[in-house]
Amino acid sequence: MDFEKLYREESGRILSTLIRLFGDFDLAEEMLQEAYAAALQQWPAGGTPANPRAWLISTARNKAIDRLRRERRFEEKSEEIYKTSEFTVQPAAVLEDEMFPDDRLRLIFTCCHPALDNDAQVALTLRTVCGMTTEEISKAFLVPVPTMAQRLVRAKRKIRDAGIPYREPAQEDLQDRVEAVLLVLYLIFNEGYLASSGDSLVRRELCAEAIRLGRILCGLLPRQAEARALLGLMLLQDSRSEARVNAEGELVLLDEQNRSLWRADEIQEGTELVQSALRSGAAGIYAIQASIAAVHANASTARETDWRQIVGLYDVLLRANPSPVIEVNRAVAVAMAGPIQDGLAILDALEYRRELADFHLLPAARADLLRRLGRGAEAADAYRLALSLATNDVERRFLSRRLASLTS
């Protein structure tokens, strides 16, 4: 039994169920840890149970009952927790739910309650529903770890003190919560698409998770054009997953990718979703980004890509959502549309502003443009800076190779 894999893949889902059942984030997190510890102890000798998830939930539930008995809090909680015995006997029966077929989506809506601070909504969802660590989330938000930890503590406290319910929102509240939910899915996908740390570039399970949740959301909210646009964006990005990493697990940039590895089914579905979203009049941030992804996905080579259109779409995106990270992407597109110096000038200006001082993709993008301009020494310096900031091993190896090819 690969416990690490089990934890990655199941903890979010199990935690969602435990949180709903206990009505208490902290208790659910603690009991989940204890249940995993028990599994580590018992499974190697006694064998892995037929349904590991049900085993873990049932074990966590029993441990919660023990804990509450010891603390004499059992009376007030017992009714909620007894409801779970039914669940542990027949997990499938309870997971069938017409409106919310999945506990995680239910919990996403709870975590995205409008009474919580916006950033806290997203962070809490990633922490609980997707099982991401506080470190991973701080990376995704570009904030220090203690700030993120504090944000999570505050959000959990508010949920408890203000009586934010653990249940699906009423139909009339759905609209209110969609925007935060979309941002959550988007950040989950991004973390999967470019894992912030570790030895694999892509965490496919996070991408698959975001796409799966996106599909459920589109089913729930058929009139939400931005939900469709986001699903389309994720599919179009995901279509390149196979080509972004070669057989040795090394990073391959867009212009060097083997486009026959791109998934045609995802490109087609993604493109159709974007078109459908645009027809419904959506020109929100997801529809614009999805349009950019669609231009890439439907070009047969990097050279034949309509870079001017991409620059134009980035301009629209920046007006809708000013962000220095988007400016980096736009600068790269400007360089591709040519001349390269124009793109470089934008990156130089961005570096001067220092807003992205910790963001490795800025020096990495500069290094690439300098390299293409034949300014080897400056490119090497920029690669070194990028290397000092990058935390994903695959990206670090890629940057090291580029650096070595310049200095050899």
Binding site: D161, A162, G163, P165
Partner: protein, 122 residues
Amino acid sequence: MQYLMLIYGAESDWARKTPQEQEAVKKGFGQLRDELNNTGKFKGGSQLTPISAATTVRVRGGKRLTTDGPFAETKEQLGGYFLVDAKDLDEAISIAARMPSALDGSIEIRPLVVMEQAAKQG
């Protein structure tokens, strides 16, 4: 849970309303109160006199300081309150959203500290 709903609005807005408009606001609050009362959710509440009748007291170093007016001058003033028993924040929000003052003022929803928390928070 019990929620205290602090009803804020600009007193100047209230003064500008016609007698009919003021009557409509009062009627709206009255209906909501009756409805909450019938379901046992209404735990108290009242309109407050204007801040011109407010007095603030502080005791510092054993000395009592009494001043005219509210603690802080703000654009919107506390004009009334409801104490409501609601099953969770969502129910509290939907009750607050039905208050006539939500249309031009704002309702601050503050959960009362429950005993368990009071013990923990000391």
